[in-house]
Symmetry: C2
Subunit: 366 residues, 2 copies
């Protein structure tokens, strides 16, 4: 903050409030009430929150918690915010907030305009880099939580032969997977997408249909399960009864691309270099230009976080960064395949948090 000449951080989003306070609740599902946190250059964070959150916030390490009765149609916390920011910063102060890539402001825009007007002697500046810089490098306690949920999902995927069968409607397969994840200790499975299609699939973000899984399909599930507020994010592919040569070849190329990613993922390398290492294998394997736009990303408190493994992301890898390696490949005929692992950057080779996918496309239901 000193380097960027930011006097106070003004935060509105769930991961940021949780990062600085430990405040964890699914109540964010309700869009009704805004929640605010202020981080001064020195001293503890100050929470400015709806009264309903007081008992939970009071259990965190914060001392200064200011509340109002929300929702309020006339002033839903803006007056209290202006008063608090004016108390914490001098006139002319620079207030950092998240305005950049992969962020949004979780409050009505009308109220943010009121806030800016009420604090016109202060300047709102972009603090995305401060926050992303902090959050990209995980503490060992954060890594433990991510490793734990990666273990739960890996364990669940290892039961694929029991969970998934030919003839089973795809939505039933997804339901069985979710139930097994919860049974294995996941707190939640907020993200589970995937597909099943002959020799591959054409999209990777769909909810499941109720079409039955067929022999010859490649079934893919991509899961973001959660433990104590931390995500895993990886997928697995399974051939049902039989695997075509084409799907074996796609799988093989993606497995090798991930190997290339694992070899390139070293402290000091850039995300662009990591991308290139994987893309080289994909191109050699005959992959058409991908539409996913990147071959992996950060993860942690969110399913996807900075950085992005793309040609343009020059973020330098550092120890403690938790990342996905996510090569994907299309043959240009509407059939694609994705492959994903979760890793943490260490001094030397990265540590796999997900149990490495099998060397060959697993065939189940035989």
């Amino acid at each position: 903050m000193r380097e960027e000449q930011v006097d106070l951080l003004f935060l509105t989003t769930e991961p940021e409030l949780r990062y600085f306070s430990g405040f964890l609740t699914q109540f964010w599902q309700s869009p009704t009430r805004p929640w605010f946190m202020l981080i001064p250059r020195t001293g503890k964070p100050v929470a400015v929150i709806p009264e309903i959150g007081m008992p939970v916030m009071a259990r965190t390490w914060l001392d200064d918690i200011r509340t109002w009765s929300s929702p309020d149609p006339v002033d839903d916390g803006v007056g209290l915010l202006i008063e608090t920011i004016a108390e914490l910063t001098p006139s002319g102060a620079r207030i950092g907030t998240m305005l950049g890539a992969e962020t949004y402001l979780r409050m009505p825009l009308r109220d943010f305009d009121r806030l800016r007007t009420g604090l016109e002697a202060r300047e709102f500046v972009d603090a995305t880099d401060i926050l992303s810089g902090l959050r990209m490098v995980k503490s060992e306690r954060e890594i433990e939580k991510i490793a734990h949920i990666c273990g739960i999902a890996s364990d669940t995927f290892s039961k694929a032969g029991d969970l998934f069968q030919e003839g089973q409607p795809l939505d039933e397969a997804f339901r069985a997977f979710k139930i097994a994840c919860l049974g294995n200790g996941a707190d939640d499975v907020p993200y589970l997408v995937g597909a099943a299609g002959h020799g591959g699939y054409d999209d990777v973000i769909s909810p499941p249909s109720n079409d039955p899984i067929c022999a010859g399909d490649v079934l893919m599930l991509d899961t973001g399960a959660v433990f104590d507020g931390y995500f895993c994010d990886f997928d697995r592919n399974f051939a049902i009864s039989t695997a075509s040569d084409q799907s074996r070849k796609l799988y093989d190329t993606l497995w090798l691309a991930t190997e290339a990613g694992l070899s390139a993922a070293r402290p000091g390398a850039t995300c662009a270099e990591l991308f290139q290492a994987m893309q080289k294998v994909i191109t050699k394997g005959g992959g058409a230009d991908g539409s996913v736009g990147r071959l992996g990303h950060g993860l942690g408190m969110q399913l996807t976080e900075w950085p992005s493994h793309t040609l343009w992301d020059q973020t330098v890898l550092r120890e403690g960064m938790v990342l996905t390696l996510e090569p994907s490949m299309s043959l240009g005929d509407g059939v694609m395949m994705v492959h994903e692992e979760n890793i943490v950057i260490r001094d030397g080779a990265p540590e796999l948090l997900s149990v490495r996918a099998p060397r060959e496309l697993p065939v189940i239901g035989v």
Copy 2:
């Protein structure tokens, strides 16, 4: 739109995009990519979305889907948006977007500023009332989905005696409930909060601790389970082994407050009148001033939606509105209780979507 002199709606949030297109994906969990939809006064919506979403959006009723390769660090869709809006509206047009209560703009604020600059001949105005007016009144198909998930949650709560036991850690009880909900046909249980405490509880938005459930506790679970993108939102209270006179009395008052709400919930009544009908019973029962700020709200594509049952909300109830009745009561000593049902406003008495809570506080584990 004609009445409000809005020429085009500019939408960025999940429920709005889904409302107009049917586009349903958990991919919104990833904050990386923004998604946009434009609604002209006449004709079909136009989607401006990341390429990765094309296969799913192409299955909706939309014809005009424009994509860019996202994430893009230089121009993450803003250029395409400016071009498309300029094509769809004349100079001087009024672009409606959601700036009001219970909304936010799901795109980086920096990019919204670029959009406004790129379209400076057009004016961005608040369209919250247009959207909330549409979304508050549900179609019969929407009501069916909400009724279905309310039925699943009601059925799961009816098994409380099997799911919850004295000595069980609270997080295990929550996990058992989630698994049972999924087993009963829920697609997901994104919201499950609650508490267990002697004679009542002190907060209603917490994730569960791993403390064991004790005899004499009141156990409360409040769930937002989902079916095909539609939520239920209601809670149930259970006394473990034995119920104190105080907790029976709290429960009785809240049950009667809900009855008063059911009697008041008629087309033509206001949310304020509904609030007053319930609050009168709570005050008579000795309730201290509540901190929840309201006694129910709308629900549907989101866990909570407009309107709010508060003294200040003059929204007039209309047939087809789906609402929660959610009286809560504190005795001023840190012990509170909540009670909730889901209803749809009909011509005459409302229809209960949740199976009405038992008349007396159920005692389980005896």
